[in-house]
């Protein structure tokens, strides 16, 4: 890693970030066919399959923790190379401005698509039916706006402030101490800490889309951001953790079925809106172990230049910003078709990714927008 750091490019970190963001597109597309998400997701289709629930929650527990780990790593990298002012400028240009511009557009596009669907889709999901009834009631209060899938930008900004606070008050000392010791210490300790956060929300953990910072999300995602930032200062930690790759994968293979089994017993409800301690612990273990295993696998398999991965890495940010309104629009149109769910999933993801990549090529790649979202 040291050589890679000196050369200024960490291919596997770039590629992992791109894969984590692209996994988000697949994840959101798959939710429409998840039996567990039928009551909660606006594009929930008539056709669903338990298979989706078997496969979808694993990337859910991995992709954003991995993304925040990589983000923390790069935040520390920018501070080391360009100083705190450089980080501030980069955060304003790459996060604050895109968030301020994209958020109202995304929110309006998603609201318009959902309003259209509530009035036109013949086979609406339970949530669409609820929205339809809500709209029919003139006395119903308006729902507060959310950050939608752009919550990650909001939290990156928040973690930028918390990162400054942690550096100023030297809160990183315990973390540095932890990383100096055996990797097992962190791999066993961090899930316990995350259990506290995950037990305060439903399982699988929701997206913190509200406009106010939430304790659980700060603790959960902030821990991964901090881990990434600390990892930059102690890159040898990954070298020491290398030998744990297979045990970690084996532990995940044991924990995940247990998590699914527990999840099937504890469907979230108004009476029990939070996860049990066991489910929260399993979520914490899976999130930490999968993230570390991905870093180790990425370091082993993805740490080399690849034109395709480079292109995906460069287009991932734009793709992620754009994908959800597009995906909703496509899936709303698919809801009335009597196609097999597999085909609907394939069609929705292909169209969404194709439009995102095409628009990236035409609107971003060779224009000044590249500096902001490219």
């Amino acid at each position: 890693m040291d050589k890679a750091l000196q050369s200024g490019r960490l291919h596997y970190m770039d590629h992992l970030r791109a894969l984590a963001m692209l996994a988000g597109v697949l994840f959101h597309a798959a939710l429409a066919y998840s039996p567990l998400m039928q009551p909660f997701f606006p594009t929930a289709d008539r056709q669903s399959s338990p298979l989706v629930d078997v496969f979808v929650w694993l990337p859910h527990l991995l992709r954003m923790p991995l993304f925040f780990t990589v983000s923390g790593f790069f935040a520390a990298w920018i501070i080391a190379h360009r100083g705190p002012t450089g980080l501030l400028r980069q955060r304003i240009r790459r996060i604050a401005l895109p968030f301020i511009v994209a958020w109202p557009l995304v929110f309006l596009a998603m609201s318009a698509a959902t309003t259209w669907a509530a009035n036109h889709v013949q086979h609406p999901s339970p949530l669409l039916r609820l929205i339809h009834d809500w709209q029919a009631n003139p006395d119903a209060p308006s729902l507060p706006p959310t950050t939608a899938h752009l919550w990650f930008l909001y939290y990156l900004l928040l973690f930028g402030i918390l990162h400054w606070i942690a550096r100023t008050l030297d809160f990183a000392a315990p973390g540095r101490w932890l990383l100096r010791h055996s990797p097992g210490l962190l791999l066993l300790g961090l899930p316990l800490l995350l259990t506290l956060a995950l037990a305060s929300v439903s399982a699988p953990h929701p997206a913190p889309e509200g406009l106010l910072p939430q304790f659980w999300a700060i603790l959960f995602y902030g821990a991964f951001f901090a881990f990434g930032a600390l990892l930059y200062g102690q890159p040898e930690w990954l070298e020491r953790a290398k030998k744990l790759l297979w045990p970690l994968l084996a532990a995940c293979a044991l924990c995940y079925p247990l998590f699914l089994w527990q999840l099937s017993m504890e469907t979230p409800s108004i009476a029990a809106p939070t996860a049990s301690w066991l489910v929260a612990l399993l979520e914490g273990c899976l999130a930490v172990w999968l993230t570390v295993a991905s870093l180790l696998l990425g370091r082993r398999l993805l740490d080399r230049p690849s034109p395709i991965m480079r292109y995906l890495a460069q287009s991932a940010y734009w793709t992620y910003l754009l994908h959800l309104p597009l995906l909703l629009l496509v899936q709303y149109h698919l809801m009335d078709l009597s196609m097999a769910w597999e085909w609907k999933f394939l069609l929705a993801t292909s169209v969404t990714i194709a439009v995102c990549l095409l628009s990236y090529q035409l609107l971003v790649r060779h224009t000044p927008l590249r500096r902001f979202v490219g």
């Binding site: 209060p141 507060p144 706006p145 928040l158 402030i161 918390l162 400054w164 606070i165 100023t168 008050l169 509200g210 406009l211 106010l212 910072p213 939430q214 304790f215 700060i218």
Partner: protein
């Protein structure tokens, strides 16, 4: 009147460097307060809003007392006089340094609070009420800062600082007595009543006027004392 911009920048940066630990703590406390508000429970709302007011008032008092009163007590001015710096540069640097050290937590917390009111189930009518409270803190801070920059006496400075900030309580009570403002607090709409606009404008104009007068007063001084 010309400014020595690089020296002013250095003096402001010096204030920022010296006080950023405490400011970081204030911002952290502010984020905790906003998280408490996000819990959407009555006890968390009261604790969070009380914590916000305490943090803003503490940040205002800290900024003035650390950068002006303590420096004066420790005779830092004698050292500053040895630098290639004019009284005007020093005044502008102190004013800017204070506005930055107070302004950062103030803006974060003010915007956070207003966002909380607008984008949560809390009634939007609280928006004007919250803005008037923040407006009062800004005005009280401007008065205390101006007095600290102008008057040497530590006693008067402490009196002005604590007095102006403590008056936030009667101010909040007073707002509650104005029917045009208090009747809107629980409504789910932002209503700019005439008294609310008048109070807000008065706060902003007086804050700018007090700071402007202080700068004008110092601009006429040929020497540091």
């Amino acid at each position: 009147m010309t400014n020595n911009a690089s020296i002013i920048r250095l003096l402001v940066a010096k204030d920022w460097q010296l006080f950023q630990k405490q400011l970081a703590l204030y911002v952290l406390a502010g984020i905790v307060a906003l998280c408490l508000l996000a819990l959407a429970k009555p006890w968390a709302f009261y604790l969070g809003s009380l914590m916000l007011i305490v943090v803003v008032v503490a940040a205002a008092c800290f900024s003035i007392s650390a950068s002006l009163m303590v420096e004066r007590k420790e005779h830092t001015l004698a050292f500053v006089m040895s630098l290639p710096v004019s009284p005007w540069d020093f005044t502008i640097a102190k004013l800017l340094g204070n506005l930055v050290t107070f302004g950062v937590p103030f803006l974060v917390l003010c915007l956070g609070t207003l966002g909380t009111v607008l984008f949560t189930p809390l009634p939007d009518g609280l928006f004007v009420y919250a803005l008037l409270i923040f407006g009062y803190v800004l005005f009280a801070y401007s008065v205390a800062l101006s007095i600290a920059m102008t008057v040497e006496s530590e006693g008067w400075n402490t009196f002005a600082m604590i007095g102006s900030m403590v008056l936030i309580n009667p101010f909040i009570m007073g707002l509650a007595q104005i029917d045009a403002i208090s009747s809107q607090i629980e409504q789910d709409a932002i209503v700019w009543s005439t008294p609310a606009v008048a109070i807000l404008l008065t706060q902003v104009i007086l804050s700018v006027a007090v700071l402007g007068f202080t700068v004008w007063h110092h601009a006429r001084k040929p020497a540091f004392y």
